[in-house]
Symmetry: C2
Subunit: 105 residues, 2 copies
DNA sequence: AAGCAATTTGACTATATTTGTCAAACGGAT
DNA sequence: ATCCGTTTGACAAATATAGTCAAATTGCTT
């Protein structure tokens, strides 16, 4: 799973690889084909639940797909921000700090 | 500005240091004191515009406060996620990749 | 080129989330 | 007991998100 593809691209490629139609997959997700089409073209974001279901349907590694999906969500938060990279680094420092101090649980 | 304080804590400390009341600051922000109170206690998120105004009002470094604020937003996206740290790292890789390929502009 | 299946688009609706107001309650100082 | 700053929670308005549906478009295949 290439980190520099979008989640949508990954989903579309795997779906086509398996010879499935939007119709087939969207039925299993219980949404309209239109939405799945938009998800694959990154016009809409999937929900976490949909991502997990898609991993099952398309035989993609759940953790990998979820990481891909979450990282895209993170990027979305900072996409127009000059200071985005610095914010990311700060977030890492914070998460490390939080983890350290939660080890007391 | 301590990275391991919340944005709210930073704002409250600096406001109190300057001897300002919620009333004073919220008037400049043009919101109710109730909201500012909630922002300071991390019960609500400020908007980016409010953060920038707050930096001015409280004489805080704009970039530092913005980084603080954005990193908190990022953290919020992954706070309940097992795979949060991995997603953060993936986001960094992506942003590096994007920057590399945009240098053609 | 016509016909047909798959996908895309866009208008629309419903629902959820966010952002704010307001008034009442709380807490500490005098 | 009153005053003043802050907090709380119910409510309303505005905005964002998720979805449906039908029509338009794309791309085969004949």
């Amino acid at each position: 799973m290439d980190i520099n593809k979008t989640t949508g691209e990954i989903l579309r490629e795997k779906r086509e690889e398996k010879g499935l139609l939007l119709r087939h997959v969207s039925a299993k997700l219980d949404i309209d084909t239109a939405i799945l089409s938009k998800i694959e073209r990154s016009e809409r974001k999937a929900s976490k639940e949909q991502i997990l279901k898609l991993a099952e349907i398309l035989d993609l590694n759940k953790d990998d797909l979820l990481i891909q999906y979450l990282s895209e969500k993170i990027l979305y938060e900072i996409k127009d921000e000059e200071l985005g990279s610095k914010a990311l680094k700060a977030a890492e420092r914070k998460i490390r700090y939080i983890k350290k101090n939660n080890s007391k649980d």
